[in-house]
């Protein structure tokens, strides 16, 4: 990590109105507040479950149309139980704003279908190739626009959520263009995929920058001082270790499965027969084998990924600031495993019902692992004039699995 890019060694920008502590000679390095604080999350799992299950009941009764209001209620609960520097967050979004966002996205898709129909009728003259149908054209075009639109939706969704979030009565917000972000994200991901994912640090840092540095609390902007060059060394190490781990895991699983089948004296025909008419024992055996394969991959691949992800998150957090408020985290690989892998397993094994537990664990993790140095000068953070978008998250709802 390069010291020159760390906000710890940079003076706070004057635009935020940050005042140098008394006695600090002008031009000298600013020293952060020595006593850090952490966010506090005091939500209860039982209460969150009661809200979530009510949401599921209404989802079933309304065939999913209540989701906009359910999502809003869950956010109100979670936001209001999270406090920074003793002040709780507020979520003031409305279900109908999400509904309008969804309907507008639906309208956009309807217009797109109409446009594709015109293209089909007047450009392709109904059948350019024997195997190319109207549905193929439509599916292809939706796949093509869906990819960038999901990124646009991510950014616009973040803008909506922030604009409905208040801290000390002050609205948060997000500057910048969602379309530019969508174009940037599409280009970077495409470039990354075509270079065997060797550009990942560049993608991570350049996509984090607009999301962090465009975020605001009132008139106080966040700043991001990260550079891809700082994290390339660690990434290259991870990249090659990952390849080695896949090879080792592949060999181990192949040997274990092959060895088990052989030692049981089962021919391939018998094996197929077992699969087609599975008895309870076969199902259990398959589950045990799947679990064993998971353990092998879990031991070799996932910790490595969590090691990298924990490092990346630590880097992004420590290189972000808001005026004279600095952030840091000492999130470990093990904690990242709990966040990425265990949470995923909880959702999977509970068929989705474990979602509130995952949310609760995540909020607890944030409150335990995010350290905040310094305190903003409340008088200098003003209410923004911009009220944010009037509706939200339609694209996110349409092209992405959108959580809270």
């Amino acid at each position: 990590m390069s010291n020159t890019s760390s906000p710890w060694t940079q003076p706070a920008p004057q635009t935020t109105g940050q005042t140098t502590p008394p006695g600090t000679p002008p031009g000298t390095t600013w020293a952060p507040e020595p006593r850090p604080t952490r966010p506090v999350y005091d939500g209860r799992l039982g209460e969150l479950y009661a809200i979530y299950l009510r949401h599921l009941v209404l989802m079933l009764v309304t065939l999913g149309w209540s989701r906009f209001w359910g999502r809003t209620n869950i956010r109100r609960y979670v936001w209001s139980h999270l406090a920074v520097l003793g002040d709780r967050f507020e979520y003031r979004g409305r279900g109908r704003e999400l509904l309008i966002g969804f309907l507008l996205a639906l309208l956009m898709i309807a217009v797109w279908i109409g446009l594709m129909w015109l293209v089909w009728r007047y450009v392709f003259h109904e059948r350019p190739a024997a195997s190319f149908g109207m549905f193929d054209l439509f599916s292809l075009s939706v796949a093509l626009i869906g990819f960038p639109l999901a990124y646009v939706g991510h950014y616009a969704g973040l803008r909506y959520k922030l604009s409905r979030t208040r801290w000390r009565g002050i609205r948060c917000g997000m500057a910048g263009s969602a379309w530019s972000y969508g174009a940037l994200a599409t280009g970077l991901h495409f470039a990354n995929a075509t270079t065997a994912y060797l550009l990942t640090p560049l993608v991570s840092v350049n996509l984090a920058r607009p999301r962090i540095s465009n975020a605001r609390v009132g008139t106080l902007p966040f700043l991001f001082a990260g550079r891809a060059g700082d994290i390339y060394g660690r990434y290259i190490g991870y990249y090659f270790l990952n390849i080695l781990a896949w090879v080792a895991a592949g060999i181990a699983v192949f040997a274990a499965v092959g060895g088990t089948i052989e030692s049981l004296g089962i021919s391939s025909d018998d094996f197929l027969k077992l699969l087609s008419n599975p008895s309870l024992n076969t199902v259990l055996l398959i589950l045990v084998l799947a679990f064993a394969a998971y353990i092998v991959f879990g031991l070799l691949i996932l910790p490595l990924r969590c090691w990298w992800q924990a490092y990346l998150l630590r880097y992004l957090v420590t290189h972000s600031r808001a005026g004279n408020v600095l952030f840091t985290t000492a999130l470990t690989t093990r904690q990242m495993w709990g966040f990425l892998v265990l949470n995923y397993l909880i959702i999977l094994l509970t068929l989705g019902i474990g979602w509130p537990l995952v949310m609760h664990r995540t909020m607890k993790l944030i409150s335990a692992q995010l350290w905040i140095y310094g305190e903003p000068n409340g008088q200098e953070i003003r209410q923004p004039t911009d009220r944010g978008p009037g509706y939200g998250e339609g694209l996110l709802d349409m092209f992405d699995v959108s959580g809270v």
Binding site: Y49, M59, Y344, G352, G378
Partner: protein
């Protein structure tokens, strides 16, 4: 500090105290008498509720300023003095009981949804307008036949359409049937919503005699008169929706696992539908006095070509029942009139030429 005042213009926190007069809520600094704000009681409101928010903010309508009262006793006192602040009073919630009631309701609703989907479609689908079903079938047909050549022999098409419509009328099916013949293989035929039948010409040319083709036509008419294709689509869509609803739409993996489950359900329904179509097909041929052994001899021919019964081997993953079982169930004597006249059969054999 039990009460915080945010002025709505800056992020400064003011520790305050409040008192209620006859027509105002007076917010003042506790150390001294400086009044920070006076809110007319008619303009005071509470945002949110205590079920979702720990401390619902008290606001003056039309302003961004807020009063945050952490102490629940102070909140209760204020609410007793100002009716508009009633939502501030924490409502005791029996969380355990709520979870139990909602869980039981979810299980019951999933059961009802499943029942409506599995059994409701059985009765509701025939009432769907036939024009919708036809439109759906034609859209799928266009896509399926995009790179295929259709056979256009007028007399052959007339013959197979005549038999298909006769059998459908015999079953009391009130809509017309359209049969399409596609050049080439595999040896197969299928049915689309809206009474659309698609036959591959290899099935016709490789048939031992006309009774086998008639048997397959009758089997497909069995699917049509029981509305199997539309029911299958409705059930698949409904299962997909149910999975999305109960998982809250939060897990892609859940959809994959659930997708596997709904596929197995569709295949189970598929096997039941095949048995029903076999039985109906043979019954329709017999009711019209036609030779009804074609269904079983067609399956026998398939078995001779491929002795290993793929459907039996695939077990629960198969969309069709084991072929041996189907032969046994559809065995009939060779008595009865031929379903096609000689001229019709010759025209059908030459339908692609």
């Amino acid at each position: 500090m039990s009460i915080r005042y945010y002025d709505g213009e800056t992020a400064e926190v003011h520790p305050v105290a409040v008192r209620v007069t006859t027509n105002e809520l007076v917010i003042y600094r506790p150390a001294g008498t400086e009044v920070v704000a006076r809110w007319p009681l008619g303009e005071v409101a509470v945002l949110g509720d205590t079920q979702h928010e720990v401390v619902p903010p008290v606001v003056r309508r039309g302003s961004d300023a807020r009063l945050i009262i952490e102490d629940s006793r102070v909140r209760s006192n204020l609410a007793s003095l100002v009716p508009a602040l009633q939502p501030l009073v924490p409502q005791p919630v029996a969380v355990g009981r709520r979870i139990a009631v909602f869980s039981a309701t979810i299980v019951a609703l999933v059961g009802v949804f499943w029942g409506v989907l599995d059994y409701g479609t059985e009765y509701a689908v025939p009432f769907l307008p036939n024009s919708w079903q036809e439109q759906l079938g034609e859209t799928v047909l266009d896509d399926l036949l995009a790179d295929k050549e259709e056979c256009e022999g007028t007399a052959g098409l007339a013959a197979i359409n005549r038999l298909a419509n006769d059998l459908a009328q015999e079953a009391g099916y009130p809509h017309p049937i359209t049969v399409h013949i596609v050049e080439g293989g595999p040896v197969n035929a299928f049915t689309l919503p809206g009474g659309i039948l698609v036959f591959y010409s290899d099935l016709i040319t490789q048939a031992k005699d006309s009774s086998q083709v008639a048997g397959v036509v009758a089997h497909e008419i069995g699917h049509v008169v029981h509305y199997h294709p539309t029911k299958g689509l409705v059930r698949a869509y409904g299962m997909d929706l149910l999975l999305k609803l109960v998982s809250g739409g939060y897990s892609e993996m859940m959809s994959t696992v659930g997708g596997g489950g709904s596929l197995l359900l569709a295949l189970r329904n598929g096997r039941a539908a095949e048995r029903e179509a076999d039985a109906t097909g043979v019954d329709l041929l017999e009711r019209r006095g036609l030779r009804a052994d074609g269904v079983s001899t067609f399956f026998q021919q398939l078995m001779e070509k491929e002795p290993k019964d793929a459907a039996a081997a695939a077990g629960i993953w198969s969309s069709h029942p084991p072929t041996a079982e189907r032969i046994e169930a559809t065995k009939r004597p060779t008595t009865g009139r031929p379903a096609f006249s000689n001229a019709e059969w010759q025209a059908l054999l030459n339908v692609c030429k």
